[in-house]
Amino acid sequence: MSSDIDSAAPAAAIIAEPVVDEAAGVDLFRRRVIIARTLLCVGALVVWQAAVSVGLIDAFWISSPVLVVVEMWHLLTSGELLNDIWMTVSEALIAFVVSSVLGVVSGLALSRSVFWDDVFAPIIVALNSLPRIALAPLIILWFGVGVAAKVVTAFTLVYFILLVNTLGGAKNIDNDILTIAQLMGASKRDLLWKVVLPSALPWIFAALSIALTYSLLGVIVAEILASNQGLGYLIAASAGNFNTAGVFAGLVVLAAIAWLFSMAMRKIEARLLRWKPSTASA
């Protein structure tokens, strides 16, 4: 158990909304919070725009909100943006799904055998702590410039995260529950599906939310390094032309996509792990 840190134990992955207990005045209070947040965002945008308009900073370096919106509209109407979004999202999703499924399956399989776990443990632990991104040029060399190289790059980043965490979760199982299930006549198959998998699920989800970020990260790095499509390419190509508005347009879209992904993940997690005591009330 002492090496639990090898896998990310389930934890709150994001700063939770503060809980307001008093029933009275909650609506008013929430409204004020939302107004304050909106003012903060709008204020930041206004300051940015003003700094450029007044001539405090050259738009060449930091662009401006208006220029970014114009650039985004331009990219959208030319169809380029949608194509880049489609490339990046599909590659990241393919890498995410394939490496997650394989990671969970191999993690569960390995947890069933003390022998194979012992044999593979040093390799897996080593591979998991390697900065595997260094292999990206090798992967591009092997798979050429294209979808395959990007997916494989993301795969090497994500697969081990899932494998290590699934294995950690499966080993972390409560022995009382396992014993009782065995005594009640559960078959090996029952044990795997009805005991080991659900018990490892919080660990798997902790890994999945990291994996989502990493699969996008891997795809973006590969797109910046060698590609001619995708949001990473859009950002890198804009930067190459010193088109900062284009860079920011790409970044905003990418941030929105990453945020949507993580929201979807948290919704699924909340649904599948609704049996977990909520962290907010603890």
């Binding site: 409560d174 009382d176 529950i177 014993t179 009782i180 299930a181 065995q182 005594l183 009640m184 006549g185 559960a186 078959s187 029952d190 009805k194 005991v195 659900p198 018990s199 699920l201 792990l273 049996w275 977990k276 005591p277």
Partner: protein, 266 residues
């Protein structure tokens, strides 16, 4: 012993010895020369100082571990490998946190492929007074309710033999008292054979037809006492002088062993 020749015992322990051999360390003799018979439908409780190997006896009956010497029998057949026809309860509830109370009770029936498992599970939840909590998860239940779920889960698979390892040990005194009553009530209806391990002398006397007192490690059977108190064990029985005498007698025996185990000579 009190077993007649006509009715063979439900559980028989035949000169069992269990020795643990941890790697790189001296072997530990947990129990030695344990011979014990439990008649069908009887409750036998086992008391003794902590660490005397009480739980390992249950493990030998359930097949969770194989004795180093001797053997255990259920229904005249030797135990080899994990038995699926015994009900087992621990001090920890062992509830699956990802299943509701109802689905926890269903688990055993589910892996056995029982078709009307939902009705059976509902019925048992009702009997332990949790019908209003069937949709609740583990963290939404009190410790006493969790242990009630464990009782329902154990009885739902209708086992012939119940092995209970300090099942109420983690509960507060009031809840423990209530659950003891409930267990006796359910046992009165079902007449299962029960082997019950505890360190609580009052509990041992309250439940038992027979109390087995174990010695300090290595655990041997020190004495066996028949508890000839009437059933049901209502309040008048537990307040009686005979009940107090039984408790006193067993308490003295256990105390001697506990002192011996802690190195104090009497």
């Amino acid at each position: 012993m009190s077993v007649s020749a006509s009715a063979p015992p439900k559980i028989r322990l035949n000169n069992i010895g269990i020795t643990f051999r941890p790697r790189d360390r001296e072997p530990v003799v947990a129990v030695q020369n344990i011979s014990l018979e439990v008649a069908t439908g009887a409750i036998v409780t086992v008391v003794g100082p902590s660490g005397c190997g009480k739980s390992t006896i249950l493990n030998a009956v359930s097949g969770l571990l194989t004795p180093s010497a001797g053997y255990a029998e259920v229904d005249g057949r030797r135990v080899a490998g994990i038995r699926h026809d015994v009900g087992y309860m621990f001090a920890r509830d062992g509830m699956m946190p990802w299943r509701t109370a109802l689905r926890n009770v269903e688990f055993g029936l589910e892996v056995r492929g029982v078709a009307n498992r939902r009705e059976i599970a509902r019925d048992w939840l009702r009997r332990v007074g949790l019908e209003k909590f069937e949709g609740h998860y583990r963290h939404e239940l009190s410790q006493g309710m969790r242990q009630r779920v464990a009782v329902a889960r154990t009885f739902a698979i209708d086992p012939d033999v119940l092995l209970m390892d300090e099942p109420f040990g983690a509960l507060d005194a009031q809840t423990r008292g209530i659950l003891q009553e409930e267990l006796l009530a359910i046992w009165g209806m079902t007449r299962k054979t029960v082997l019950f391990v505890t360190h609580d002398v009052h509990e041992a006397v309250l439940l038992a037809d027979r109390v087995v007192v174990m010695s300090a490690r290595p655990g041997r059977i020190k004495t066996t006492l028949n508890i000839d108190l009437p059933r049901p064990r209502v309040a008048e029985v537990t307040r009686s002088q005979r009940f107090a005498d039984h408790c006193q007698e067993i308490w003295e025996l256990v105390r001697e062993e506990a002192l011996a185990a802690s190195g104090v000579r009497t």
